[in-house]
Symmetry: C2
Subunit: 355 residues, 2 copies
């Protein structure tokens, strides 16, 4: 996506090329975004020449199947030595280059400097995040398809919920249904029952589902793009106060979504949510939402004092929550796409389901 | 694990404390190793004071359940500002500190420097890797239990293999069986049938299993520790030449394992494998093995020219392979534990299974 826009940024900043790399088991989001390739290696995007990948021999065939058709095998033992030598072969200048400072470790920089002596660097991670926060039509189509999958799997899981005995069975089912369709997952699913629900990033365990609220936070990965949706259901006999608090949060969540407008200020949207939560605001212990794309957390940030603005073709979450330590948690999260009008991508029912 | 050994390293290098952090969705292996905590935040290990965690409010309850009982909530908007202020409160000197250079980005360093003005840093990632490569008795017990789980799941999958129609069904089943038991996975399982097998890091798709060799590479995560095992089975009617090549590789793999001795040189072990592979060595396109622990790839490296030595209580893989582009792949991978005598942890049969 948007290689030309990146080249314009390189040009504006007088950068000869942009370098993205991935040395570990995790993937580099910018590499996926600009090339579609998610393996080990490096991606070079030059200001005015053809982009190319440099990958270990074992990844060559996989890289050839990506959007970038020019692929080199690493020809030296050392990673940055290979990159340097192939850049020289391609007669690409390297006086000043753009690097992905959010995905560039101090250790890599040490090795990089040994090869690229005297070369100036400039961090371009924020520029890339800003490019990525506005989705192209092609991305919107992929993202919509991704949410179709994600919605179906989550709905199916919730409908069949009485079949599950443990938290990890639910999480396992969510992953299995995804995998069967050839999909990845955005993150390890969260299934937090009863008092476990008060930990927003709780990891499900092989324990019996507790009575009370159960928070299910789940997303799939399709063609590199993530989805994200949380629903809270209730297991067992609910009392009136519990019903009220769920519906109180649901009304707030719906109201926030209803009021989102293009050019809206994200810090203000967060602040309004805190106001709406009244006495419960001290139990709301995370941001209200985040952009989503090739990374699960991207721009914009819907957090305290954020200066980000809502723009057309942004995709982001709205996920207020109430967490009372050692008692319970409730979170209701939608992902929305900002068009002329706002489009809710997570189409799983939010009415409280009691099982 | 080994906090005291780390403190000795700090002392030797005149470092006031070690700082590990995790800002993203991925986990920091050293943070898990020293604290058992895998969420967002920072871990401070001082030379002579109590270790503590600094985490966002939403992770507080989870952090309290880790091995580190002293936990602070971040009290400032900015990550490194919070860390700086809590370190000052604890009256810990910060003239020179140890940082995890393999898990410290250039962007974080920029923010870090703003708070820790004039503070000297020293990378200690390699020291940590060296500590981690020799497993303690406690780790060995966890790792053995982890492999018990991993072996059972992989064996079950292979025995029931005829029930699967697609690559992603197999991968999904492996993940589901893990999750049901409350286990994580080491990496997204590889199920590469037919010609897909020639890509060592192939990602399984929702496609019918092809006839021929099928490479299955799978590991689970238990209490932070990873397992790793690859088996290659055959789907359909096999011919003699295919049988021969499988058994040729199996003999080599068994022979390598038989000859591993304490103090053995890892580069030499790799070199011997290449020699044994004769004409097929050009189709062996990755390292022979790697250490494994809280990370899937650790020290020692069994690769070309590696100077690493085999020591007692190391845990590492032996995984020769033959990959013929567009035709097939075979890989046979065991994980072994070096005791006085070598102990093979992956107890799934290696005899060629034809389905």
């Amino acid at each position: 996506m948007k290689i030309r826009e990146l080249q314009r940024i390189l040009d504006k900043n007088k950068l000869d090329f942009a370098l993205f790399y991935n040395l570990g088991m995790e993937t580099n989001p910018n590499m996926i975004y600009f090339s579609g390739y998610s393996g080990l290696g490096a991606l070079i995007i030059s200001k005015n020449k053809k982009s190319f990948l440099i990958v270990p021999e074992m990844e060559f065939e996989k890289a050839k199947n990506s959007m970038i058709k020019k692929v080199y095998s690493m020809d030296k033992k050392k990673f940055f030595e290979s990159i340097y030598s192939i850049i020289k072969k391609n007669k690409i200048k390297s006086k000043k280059i753009g690097i992905d400072n959010n995905n560039f470790t101090l250790n890599s920089y040490k090795h990089f400097k040994k090869q690229f002596r005297g070369v100036k660097i400039k961090g371009i991670s924020l520029d890339c995040l800003k490019l990525r926060q506005i989705k192209t039509e092609k991305e919107v189509q992929i993202i919509k398809k991704a949410f179709n999958y994600g919605n179906k799997i989550l709905s199916k899981t919730i409908i069949d919920f009485k079949d599950f005995k443990t938290e990890s069975e639910v999480a396992g089912f969510l992953e299995y249904e995804s995998k069967k369709l050839g999909l990845g997952i955005s993150f390890s699913p969260i299934v937090a029952s009863g008092s476990n629900g008060s930990m927003p990033h709780y990891e499900p365990r092989n324990v019996k589902l507790k009575k009370g609220f159960c928070v299910i936070d789940f997303g799939i990965k399709y063609k590199g793009y993530n989805t994200d949706c949380t629903r809270t259901i209730y297991l067992g006999k609910i009392n009136n106060k519990e019903k009220q608090i769920y519906n109180f949060l649901l009304d707030i969540q719906r109201n926030i979504i209803k009021n989102i407008k293009i050019d809206g200020n994200c810090g203000k949207i967060y602040g309004n949510c805190v106001k709406d939560l009244k006495n419960y605001s001290r139990y709301f212990i995370h941001g209200l939402g985040h952009g989503i794309g090739v990374e699960i957390h991207e721009l914009p940030n819907l957090t305290l004092n954020s200066k980000d603005k809502i723009r057309e073709n942004m995709v982001f979450t709205i996920e207020p929550g109430i967490y009372i330590p050692k008692r319970f948690g409730i979170r209701i999260e939608d992902t929305v796409l900002m068009r002329k009008k706002l489009d809710i991508l997570t189409k799983v029912s939010k009415d409280l389901l009691i099982i």
